[in-house]
Amino acid sequence: MTTGAPAPTADLEAGQRKSEPCKACHGADGNATIPGTPSLAGQPVFFTHWQLIKFRDGRRKDPQMTPFAANLSDTDMADLAAYYAAQRPQPRPAVTDPAKVEVGRQLASQHHCVSCHRPGLTGHEQIPRLAGQDLAYLVKLLRGFKAQTAGDLDGTMTTAAQPLSEADIENLSHYMAALPPVPAPPR
């Protein structure tokens, strides 16, 4: 026999219970309404779980999220990720500028966003859904990757964000926020 951290078998009901403290910012069902706060509904299981690990380990930093993640167990993370993945994502009430959306559409093609985030930017596996995400959050995160302070899993986004100008970030974010929030395909 061997011991070690027991690998979690995700429990949706437990995830819902454990999401109580998250509701204030991320919404009752993972659909946030506060500008700058991401919606978690319909995000891939691997994505949410990896982000929680990064917050717990200090590789991703946020004044609000860091203390919440500090005491989560591996099982907590698996349950939360499974719960949010099962929720239906709703559009965010962002006001997007059609001209910026159009420029952003071209930029998304030039920068190969669909290579990892999949057609429609729905996300999959460890890669997040961007479609219909909060505008202010998208801008904040892209600026973070550009500044090399957002700490991604394997460096792909930090590399991808380097050629982006501030206007590019703005336009890309408008495009992504305006897309319908189709959930990621299940694993």
Binding site: T9, D57, M77, D154, G155, T158
Partner: protein
């Protein structure tokens, strides 16, 4: 004449205006894993296999599916080690285990029937490489090597990570490292190409070494795309290494490779010549494969050879002495999966390859995988540990006659 010239200028200006937006619409670099993909593969759905965020529970690990030669048996030795990669023994019997994207380094304490897993470092930048000498654990992240002095006496309160060498390139693609002490007492590691296929800067695509005090950095081998596994032959003391070959050249080419360094400064071909006999369609123009070292073994396309370890244990049959175990983490850039196994290489008297055959396989069932063997480490009793970064587990292969 004047009119024609003006007209020409007008045409040029009009052309420039028309082309302006096109020029602006230049493609940015694709993500590193997609770079080098030819246009006729643009619709490919192949992408790297996602690393699960959590290790599998013991009950989810079908150890009985791992096939080994007659007389050998496999057991689950440890689990619950997220993204388990390299393994090195401490002087006092601690097994140190690295990870890559999980950012952790672990210490496993053998409790007889079970193993206790302690996290001794976390939040690191792809800390794949670990080595141990004289009570000190060395850790290689992307751009630095650090050490923990006297770690085995302080597993619950690890000492600070002291910098050994921290001016390595910061590029993340192929930036993670294998780290090992050579017979000369120097620390060896790889600096991978920062791309799938490109002419790398002079500082990349090599094997390098540095003294354990951080002095005397030098390059050992050039033209090495990304080697994250090497070891020294127990008798000849020569350095043998595996290399991951480039992607997006089809299911069956180029082959990954297994090489030996005969002298310092040799060039192994990347990015000009692959597998010793295949010029790169883009960067091979005007080059000859005869100008570069050829592999002693083509290990197969996309097999992703990681760990290399020569067996010197006392438990396995005599013919296993000095054989090399090659852990192959398995393919993603191939329509039918290949690898996901541990192979073994018998080295002949001249240092070449006499035989290449499977040792452990079964992580790949049909086209589905449940684990990815990535590194091996011989135990004191001569049995062989195999780390699986996908399942977060370590298996033990033992032999009894």
């Amino acid at each position: 004449m004047l009119r024609i010239t003006l007209a020409s200028v007008a045409v040029l200006v009009a052309l420039a205006l028309a082309l302006g937006p096109l020029a602006d619409a230049q493609q940015a670099a694709p993500p590193p894993w997609k770079q080098g993909q030819p246009s006729n593969m643009a619709d490919s759905t192949l992408a790297p296999i996602a690393q699960p965020p959590a290790p599998k529970a013991a009950g989810e690990i079908p150890v009985d599916k791992i096939k080994v030669p007659a007389g050998f048996k496999v057991s689950l030795w440890a689990h619950g080690i997220n993204n388990a990669r390299e393994m090195v023994w401490g002087d006092k019997g601690t097994l140190f285990v690295s990870s890559r994207v999980a950012g952790n380094v672990y210490a496993l304490v053998d409790k007889g029937d079970s193993r206790e897993v302690k996290v001794i470092a976390k939040g690191l930048n792809l800390p794949n490489g670990i080595a141990f000498k004289n009570g000190t654990l060395y850790i290689a992240e992307v751009s630095r090597i650090t050490k923990m002095v006297g770690i085995e006496d302080k597993l619950d309160n690890p000492p600070a990570m002291e910098v050994v060498y921290d001016i390595l390139p910061r590029d993340l693609p192929h930036g993670w490292k294998h780290l090992a002490f050579g017979p000369d007492g120097k620390l060896y590691f790889n600096i991978g190409a920062p791309c799938n296929i490109c002419v790398p800067p002079d500082t990349h695509a090599n094997l390098s070494r540095v003294n354990p005090d951080g002095t005397g950095f030098e390059y050992v081998a050039h033209g090495v795309r990304n080697s994250v596994g090497f070891d020294w032959h127990p008798i000849s003391k020569r350095l043998y290494f595996t290399t991951h070959a480039r992607d997006w050249m089809g299911d069956d080419s180029p082959s990954d490779r297994f090489d030996v360094v005969m002298r310092k400064g040799q060039h192994f071909g990347y990015p000009y010549c692959h597998a010793g006999d295949m010029l790169d369609p883009e960067f091979g123009k005007g080059k000859s494969c005869n100008d570069y070292v050829k592999p002693i073994l083509k290990t197969g396309p996309h097999v992703a050879g990681n760990g290399v370890e020569f067996y010197t244990g006392s438990q396995f049959p005599a013919e296993y002495q000095n054989r090399a175990f090659l852990a192959q983490r398995g393919s993603w850039n191939r329509s039918k999966k290949i690898g996901f196994r541990v192979m073994m290489v018998t080295i002949d008297a001249k240092g070449g390859v006499a035989k290449y055959e499977p040792f452990a396989e079964g992580w790949l069932q049909g086209d589905e995988i449940w684990g990815r063997p990535v590194y091996t480490r011989t135990m004191k009793d001569g049995s062989l540990l195999i780390a699986d970064d996908y399942a977060g587990a370590i298996y033990r292969v033992s032999y009894s006659r």
